[in-house]
């Protein structure tokens, strides 16, 4: 299998603060890969650097075999990489349909088929196509953000916290659609998520990012079985001999 996205020793700074300290990862075509990590681990920075909104200070990013580090986002979108940003970021005063059209901004061909495709995945957007996006509920806005990303007809989609602020039920619904898109539309996904449970259920492969470094990588099954992941990300606590524990486990990342 070929790697669609290859990130090598990526470093990024916010002023003097180092947010990424040499991150390497690869995303193979057709997969869903997730990046887990606590607040401030550098997940969003990593996504922004990949999609070109931020420039890395060091390291390389190869998308479909071509160097994209430091290039402008419009060039990268045109190559087939769509970024669904954290917190939805819809255009509040444009209608739902205009938002979707903006998702296809870099394309010059006919987009009607893709509009229909998005409306088929998210029927509620069809109902509300003429309504300003700012008046949608949070879940609908997330659907719109994903649909808007799809309109670029991407090969790879970066999804930054699609469950942010959604109810557990809506989260399940969104992730079911993400799986379907991956399966039916062959969109490779790189998924950043705080909700490790649903992320590992959805993804094939996962990385754990802590303080700007990858500390663990493995298939979702392996990660889900790992003691550290179970304790620090899935919130399950092993019990000691006396049925309770009075110490904090050290992370070993094995």
């Amino acid at each position: 299998m070929t790697a669609m996205l290859e990130v090598l020793n990526l470093e990024a700074h916010y002023g003097a603060i180092m947010a990424l300290r040499g991150v390497s990862l690869s995303v193979e075509e057709g997969r869903i890969v997730t990046i887990l990590g606590a607040n401030g681990a550098g997940k969003t920075t990593l996504m922004k650097t990949i999609s070109g909104v931020m420039d890395p200070t060091k390291g390389q990013i190869l998308f479909m075999g071509r160097h994209v580090e430091g290039r402008d986002p419009d060039a990268i979108v045109r190559m087939g990489l769509a970024h669904v940003p954290e917190g939805r970021e819809v255009f509040p005063f444009l209608t739902v349909e205009e938002n979707l059209r903006m998702g296809a901004f870099t394309r010059r061909d006919d987009i009607r088929a893709d509009l229909d495709l998005v409306y088929d995945y998210f029927p509620v957007l069809r109902e509300r196509r003429g309504q300003p996006a700012g008046t949608l509920s949070g879940g609908q806005q997330q659907m719109l953000a994903i649909g808007r990303g799809l309109m670029a007809r991407p090969r790879l989609m970066l999804l930054d916290e699609p469950s942010l602020g959604l109810s557990p039920l809506l989260t399940q619904e969104i992730f079911a659609i993400i799986r379907r898109l991956n399966h039916e539309q062959k969109v490779t996904m790189l998924l950043v998520e705080q909700n490790a449970h649903v992320a590992l259920q959805t993804a094939d492969f996962g990385y754990v990012l802590e303080l700007g470094r990858i500390v663990m990588a493995g298939s979702s099954e392996r990660l889900m079985a790992s003691e550290d992941i179970r304790e620090f990300y899935l919130g399950q606590q092993g019990t000691g001999q006396r049925g309770q524990r009075r110490w904090k486990r050290r992370k070993t990342w094995r």
């Binding site: 999609s51 909104v53 402008d72 986002p73 419009d74 060039a75 990268i76 979108v77 045109r78 970024h83 669904v84 940003p85 917190g87 970021e89 819809v90 255009f91 509040p92 005063f93 444009l94 205009e98 938002n99 059209r101 903006m102 998702g103 901004f105 870099t106 700012g134 949608l136 949070g138 806005q141 808007r148 670029a152 602020g165």
Partner: protein
């Protein structure tokens, strides 16, 4: 009849304020700062046109001359954003305020150096022509042209923003710059384009203003009254800017006729204060809280 006459003149003046206010709002939405040089861009647009069409200058036919001036001022607007405003992007708000105020002075001196400081008259085919609408009701061709041009320009701008891909992209970039970046919209280019557009609108306003009288490098101070119009309309709303301009024009005209002397100069600013106190978002505010 007299009142109608008065109101027509007020509306015509108001259209010019409205067009300048439109330039303010366009740039406010794109660059998130006020361009205090907007009035001076109008002044420069009028002088560039004068340079193209006056008989003792290049003596081009009127309409091609205006079109050429629009083109030149579009490039000037684009250049101002590309080489000056982009440099203070991301700096605190006042950086752009100071920059544009300084730019206004610079433009005034540029115009003064090239065209001199004494008043000049732009030769237009409209000069001295009056249209008789009804008995006792005449409107000068300049006023009629002002109103018609403003309406046409408004419709064109509306169509551009609502119907074209680029226009939508400009709206998108002004509503959520970061998201526009993610969509692959070239935000910097789009912002420069808005400056170009506002340079063109300023030129049209300048030509219409010049059609009514003489121009000198200080007419850019009209921009302050247009700023009041933009505030009254609710900064950030394009239709509001035009409406604000017309309101200011009407109030000025009626105050001049019926009020005590001096009140007409004061009236627009008094209204601005009233609006700020009672409707802080402006009369046509388009600001709603962002949903998280």
């Amino acid at each position: 009849m007299e009142l109608v006459q008065l109101l027509l003149g007020g509306i015509a003046n108001g259209c010019i304020y409205g067009l300048i206010a439109l330039g303010f709002v366009l740039i406010y939405k794109a660059s998130e700062g006020v361009n205090f040089a907007q009035g001076d861009m109008m002044m420069l647009g009028a002088f560039v046109t004068l340079g193209f069409v006056n008989a003792d200058r290049m003596d081009l036919p009127f309409l091609p001359g205006v079109a050429l001036a629009c083109l030149v001022m579009g490039c000037v607007g684009y250049g101002i954003d590309r080489f000056l405003v982009r440099g203070v992007f991301g700096q605190p708000q006042f950086a752009m305020v100071i920059l544009t105020i300084a730019l206004g002075f610079a433009l005034r001196f540029v115009a003064g150096t090239i065209w001199g400081y004494s008043p000049l008259v732009l030769e237009t085919p409209l000069a001295g022509v009056n249209l008789e609408l009804a008995a006792g009701l005449a409107v000068s061709a300049a006023d009629a042209a002002t109103i018609v041009t403003t309406v046409v320009l408004t419709v064109l701008l509306w169509a551009f923003f609502a119907r074209t891909r680029l226009g939508l992209a400009i709206q998108a970039a002004s509503q959520n710059q970061l998201a526009a970046y993610y969509m692959g919209i070239p935000v910097k280019f789009v912002n420069s384009l808005v400056w170009a557009l506002s340079g063109i609108v300023a030129t049209v306003a300048g030509v219409l203003y010049a059609a009514k009288g003489a121009i000198d490098p200080n007419i850019g101070l009209l921009g302050i009254k247009a700023f009041a119009a933009a505030v009254i309309g609710g900064f950030g709303s394009l239709p509001g800017a035009l409406a604000g301009g017309v309101i200011v024009g009407l109030i000025e005209a009626t105050a001049q006729r019926y009020g005590p002397s001096g009140i007409s100069q004061m009236a627009p600013y008094a209204l601005m204060l009233l609006v700020l106190v009672f409707w802080p978002g402006g009369l046509f505010a388009q600001i709603r809280a962002k949903k998280v």
